[in-house]
Symmetry: C2
Subunit: 212 residues, 2 copies
């Protein structure tokens, strides 16, 4: 039995965690929760996450059950990335920039691009005000990602420091679905190069195929 | 000169940080940025925070400049709450629940209540779909807060463990402005008691008056 169980589905938030688990080369068991059936609102799952949203990770070796992708990525980095291949040591300057960008993704990019998805693809009525508002805000937020990459250009195509980190993984998860709302990533040259590079890794490809 | 400079305004996100600084009894200098003038989008401020949003904290003693309130609260807890009066030790079970709820606030409560504010108060046109969508989602999220409090009721009126933490401060900042969109906090008995208790602290009151 794997010590890690990931409850997930084929969404930007789900992919963040499966990509990180693949990069860390961890053995994990996947429980596929098709959210179109609302299974994530059933009592048994609400016990794991009262907010009724995927992904949720259970680590049987530590007894930790954790939701919210920013928290899951931090937990996995603390616990399974002691060599800091995809994170920075607690308390350093890079650690706090990594944290700032992680929260920027969680509080900005994710919710706003999520609302753009809703108004463009899923809302039962077409509401031009909602479509324009969230599409524009999503674009603005990726121009901020471009600026973060520009500031760190001397180090390489990383958001923070001299290697990839959980900030990159978090933003990649959402950048990967920009096409679906008709936003062309190539308008941001640095974001575009950074994205293609990350997408080329086999571990990232594997993470994007979970759950199969 | 204070070693801490807080760029802030009278908003739920601004209050989270000023309340925590007051609770930690830290000396800090406040720079008031009236966001209705768009001063937070000026070049000098974008150097501090490329996302152009308040609050931003500069710690002259460590050389750290940090934005996104979840990251600021974590930074302040790590640096100035070594006795863990308002946080839990790194790596513990309480630490990760604190983190989950902090991200839940940052990714859910803040953005969704923020959109409710927009559609109810600020949007130039009244769009019933937007008003209903975000008011309902805001209410759903506070019912999740109620559930977190219920699960920890044996410990007291805290979201995590046996004392207040940065999770409570983060959610308090937004619970404090529910009235402005006509949502009655009393529909959640535990949230309501928790809120009144927190509001009664002089440090919290002081934090809510920043910038003066």
């Amino acid at each position: 039995m794997s010590t890690l169980t990931l409850y997930t589905w084929k969404t930007p938030n789900g992919y963040k965690v499966s990509i990180f688990l693949e990069l860390l080369e961890l053995d994990y068991e996947t429980k596929s929760l098709d959210i179109s059936t609302n299974i994530q609102k059933e009592d048994w799952f609400l016990k794991l996450n009262p907010n009724g949203r995927i992904p949720t990770l259970v680590d049987h070796s530590t007894g930790i059950t954790i939701s919210e992708t920013g928290a899951i990525l931090q937990y996995l980095a603390d616990t399974y990335d002691k060599a800091h291949r995809f994170s920075y040591p607690h308390g350093t300057k890079e650690y706090y920039l990594q944290l700032e960008i992680l929260y920027f993704q969680m509080a900005g990019v994710g919710p706003m691009q999520g609302q753009a998805n809703h108004f463009i693809i899923y809302a039962p009525e077409k509401i031009p005000y909602g479509i324009t508002r969230y599409k524009n805000e999503t674009k603005r937020l990726y121009s901020v990602v471009e600026e973060y990459l520009r500031r760190n250009q001397h180090n390489g195509p990383y958001l923070v420091g001299n290697h990839y980190s959980i900030s990159d993984i978090a933003i990649f998860g959402w950048a990967n679905s920009l096409g679906k709302i008709g936003i062309d990533i190539e308008q941001w040259p640095l974001v575009s190069q950074w994205f293609e590079k990350l997408r080329s890794f086999p571990e990232v490809q594997k993470g994007l195929s979970v759950p199969s």
